[in-house]
């Protein structure tokens, strides 16, 4: 350790993470004149945004002119069971259309309506067709557009670098320290402001649609720097992930399949989603198959089919069917888009054109032709609604100088996120975070992080190499994933989660003994050992928040408290690190909603 050196970089704004939110933040900060550094764990353009399929939600009103930001706002709040940060939901609904149009000014090419406008498709929980899209590869279109625009903006990009700690000057964040994967050498970034855009925590669970990068780095960095996290009990289990073969279990099957007319059936061929339509959505949902089909084919007078209810509800109905023994052979249910050949003469071509990635994914990975036969699907860990608690207008966390945008930030989605609202989230709040971070950096004098913090961070990062007889980090990661899946997954209860709390203590102890073999250059074993701290921090926040919410709401389902409890409808769970170093979860009241917003919610029914 002695004599360990590092390279120093200086920027006005340091953005950590280069998915949609990070790129959008970097573009905005740099356009305002700030010197911007952008750090990404992977190569540029490979971040998790690339996997988003269905579309980006924005009330453009191109397909149904009854749509506007008020309806989008109200849908988002309803989907989030009113725990949302209403200011974020308001800004999001208002600004999403401009952010989507801006993508086309930067070269994106969305699918078109017959009149040449941006086409919009139906999605769960959205009252009108609202998702701008490119087939089922919308995320790729978005990230590539931002990447190709961003590379001409003078942003300094650090590819394949990992941040291990934020640096502080008193109460304020003034930079970060990390290493480059290629050489394993340390780097220190001094920055006027830091934007976290690191995405989610899905790798804490066994079955997930998330990539290796989703180890909750930003959540954990913020937490350890003293920032508050909010709503961490709300983890979204997407209803449709692949279930077979085992090696592809969890890979996402876009909601766009259902938006295009795909239906869910159990082993008896029954469309079970008609059996359980929640009261909150009764007036908006079709009660017969014919009307559902009319809705997905554009009949404005039809109500949407129950397959397009919110993700939390659809996922639970699927679990119910499987548990009742009515599932498919490999422990899922059937998702059938092939049936539309009864309705459309050229259904096969239509499916391939609307859902090309799904067609190839099933053909190549499962040997299933989705134009001819149903898919087998089941829930998969997909998204964390919870995240760094931020100010709705500026995206600044409770720690000055530290901003967050996209999945790592909490608040917009409340108890459950609507499909398509994540891509619009990235654009709207990426921009706002970039703008306000640049402003903060300009308005405040540079800070200084003392050498001790840097020494400590380097020491911690290198510790796994000193433990020649330590444990294999992959084993610890697998055990954590198994435990979270079983004990804090889609169906939760007090007993299991209490066991998980003990389990986490054991895993933390094992992680402190995780070893790294070999040398520092591009060493995935070492990286896995370092990821454990982040995963464990996030897992603990999920479990402790979930224990405290003794009700079922949105994505959080407690079999010991299966109903919604209005007493819990007025507060968020706020997680922070106490002075003693232990994690604390407190309930904090949701600020009083503004009257005109309340009125919108009431009017929309």
């Amino acid at each position: 350790m002695a004599g360990e050196s590092y390279k120093t970089h200086e920027h006005d704004v340091l953005v950590i993470g280069a998915g949609g939110a990070g790129l959008r933040a970097a573009i905005e900060a740099s356009a305002s004149g700030a010197r911007v550094g952008l750090v990404c764990k992977s190569l540029l353009g490979k971040a998790h945004t690339v996997m988003a399929e269905g579309g980006v939600a924005a009330a453009l009103g191109n397909v149904d002119d009854r749509d506007n930001w008020r309806v989008h706002f109200s849908d988002t709040m309803r989907g989030g069971q009113y725990l949302n940060n209403w200011r974020m939901a308001e800004l999001h609904a208002q600004q999403a259309p401009d952010r989507v149009r801006e993508l086309e000014a930067w070269g994106a090419v969305m699918d078109r309506t017959p009149k040449g406008k941006i086409l919009q498709r139906n999605f769960g929980g959205h009252k009108y067709p609202r998702l701008a899209h490119v087939g089922d590869r919308t995320g790729l279109e978005m990230i590539r557009t931002l990447q190709d625009h961003g590379i001409h903006q003078g942003i300094e990009v650090f590819m394949e670098f990992t941040i291990t700690a934020l640096l502080k000057d008193g109460g304020r964040v003034v930079g970060a320290i990390g290493y480059d994967r290629e050489r394993g050498r340390f780097h220190v970034w001094k920055a006027g402001a830091v934007v976290l855009a690191t995405g989610g925590i899905g790798r804490a669970f066994k079955i997930t649609s998330n990539s290796w990068e989703y180890t909750g780095d930003g959540h954990a960095l913020a937490y350890h720097a003293g920032a508050e996290l909010v709503d961490m009990e709300f983890v979204q289990f997407h209803p449709t992930g692949m279930v077979w073969p085992p090696s592809v279990r969890g890979i996402l099957v876009t909601e766009g399949v259902r938006g295009e007319g795909g239906v869910l059936r159990n082993k008896d061929g029954k469309r079970f989603m008609f059996d359980d339509i929640p009261d909150l959505y009764k007036q908006q949902t079709a009660d017969n198959e014919e009307e559902g089909w009319r809705y997905v084919t554009g009949d404005k007078n039809a109500l949407r089919p129950p397959e397009l209810l919110t993700r939390d509800h659809v996922a639970r109905c699927i679990v119910r069917e499987i548990k009742a023994g009515r599932g498919s052979p490999h422990g899922g249910v059937f998702l059938d888009i092939a049936w539309i050949k009864e309705k459309l003469p050229n259904a096969g071509e239509h499916i391939k054109k609307k859902l090309p990635s799904m067609y190839h994914q099933f053909k190549e990975l499962a040997g299933v032709d989705i134009t001819q036969e149903p898919m087998e699907v089941g829930p998969t860990t997909h998204y964390v609604m919870g995240g760094v608690k931020v100010d709705g207008d500026s995206q600044m966390s409770s720690v000055p100088g530290l901003f967050a945008a996209g999945e790592v930030a909490g608040g917009l989605h409340g108890a459950n996120r609507l499909g398509g609202n994540s891509l619009s989230d990235l654009l709207v709040f990426g921009k706002l975070a970039g703008e306000h971070a640049a402003k903060y950096a300009k308005d405040n004098s540079p800070g200084h992080a003392d050498a001790g913090q840097i020494e400590d961070a380097m020491h911690e990062a290198l510790a796994p190499f000193e433990r020649a007889d330590g444990e294999n980090p992959y084993d610890i990661q697998h055990d954590l994933q198994d435990m979270m899946q079983d004990q804090s997954g889609i169906v939760r209860n007090e007993n299991d989660m209490a066991k998980a709390v003990d389990g986490l203590a054991g895993l933390r102890e094992r992680a402190s003994r995780a070893r790294a073999d070999g040398h520092r250059e591009y060493n995935p074993g070492w990286h896995t050992a370092l990821d454990l701290k982040n995963l464990l921090t996030c897992a603990e926040a999920v479990v402790r928040s979930a224990l405290d919410r003794r009700e079922s709401r949105g994505a959080h389902f407690r079999e010991d408290y299966p109903g919604k409890d209005e007493a819990h409808g007025y507060h968020n769970s706020v997680t922070s690190r106490g002075p003693d170093g232990h994690m604390s979860v407190v309930r904090r009241d949701i600020p009083q909603i503004r009257d005109e917003l309340k009125q919108i919610i009431e009017e929309m029914g």
Binding site: L43, V50, E104, L119, E213, L252, E364, G525
Partner: protein, 252 residues
């Protein structure tokens, strides 16, 4: 789950200074892809085996490698389509400098892209800053925009692989990147001079190796490279065009 059977993988281990193929044996079950096997080897016996991956669903283009000599995405190569009676060889892409094991330095591609003139749209058609485009007109461009930047086309292109013309030849990936800009219904920029003199599209002799390895099934040669070559020829070599230019000076 199916029976597990042992399969031997012969994986390149080493860095820029040298290395060797090393054998690893691991259990294979139904539906596994090559990337699953590599992950299993990491977890069981070689935790420091370096490989890139992100999505494991053929969408990010990170896990490019050469499997039994064929440039493929490891995440989309199913074990049951490979002959496992003999060891399965996995090499890093050979056209790029090696960093470690299966990871290569592909940064050159990012540098090339930066030099290509950026998108320059015409004035918006509508007051809200939007444009009208017909679906039929955007489809040609959408095919090229499917590219996941796996760089397998660059890996297999003999102008880069055998002749190592990296500095002056931008390779198939950047021809389809340029094609989607040039054929974009809104774009007003002119990149034909760049294509001819900086990207040297003339070096490509349309052997279509790039098209064959593209995991996104983009018809790189027929739909992007050949039309671009024709545009370059029309612009710089067609005697009629040159004649017209004498009479209509100033027009591009």
């Amino acid at each position: 789950m199916g029976e597990s059977r042992d399969v031997t993988f012969r994986v390149w281990r080493g860095d820029a200074s040298g290395g060797a193929l090393k054998d690893y044996t691991t259990g294979i079950t139904t539906g596994m892809v090559v990337l699953d096997a590599v992950h299993q080897i990491q977890a069981e016996s070689a935790p420091d085996l370096a490989c890139r991956w992100n999505c494991k669903a053929g969408k990010c283009g990170s896990c490019s490698a050469e499997i039994n000599g064929k440039p493929r995405l490891m995440c989309m190569t199913r074990m049951d389509e490979i002959d496992t009676s003999v060891p399965v060889t996995i090499l890093p892409m050979q056209t790029f400098p090696l960093i470690r094991d299966l990871v290569t330095d592909v940064s050159w591609n990012y540098e090339v892209k930066k030099r290509i003139k950026k998108f320059r749209p015409r004035k918006p058609d509508n007051a809200d800053g939007s444009w009208n485009m017909a679906q039929a007109d955007v489809e040609r461009v959408q095919e090229f925009r499917k590219c996941i930047e796996c760089f397998l086309c660059q890996d297999v292109c003999h102008v880069l692989r055998e002749h190592e013309r990296h500095p002056e030849f931008s390779g198939p990936r950047h021809f389809i990147y340029t094609a989607q800009l040039e054929m974009h219904p809104l774009d007003t920029e002119d990149r034909l001079g760049q294509l001819k003199d900086e990207q040297n599209i003339g070096y490509c002799n349309i052997t279509k190796c790039c098209t064959k390895v593209c995991p996104e099934h983009i018809t790189i040669t027929d739909n992007a490279i050949i039309p671009l070559k024709e545009r370059v020829v029309d612009e710089f070599y067609d005697p009629m065009t040159r004649l017209f230019r004498i009479f209509k000076p100033g027009k591009k």
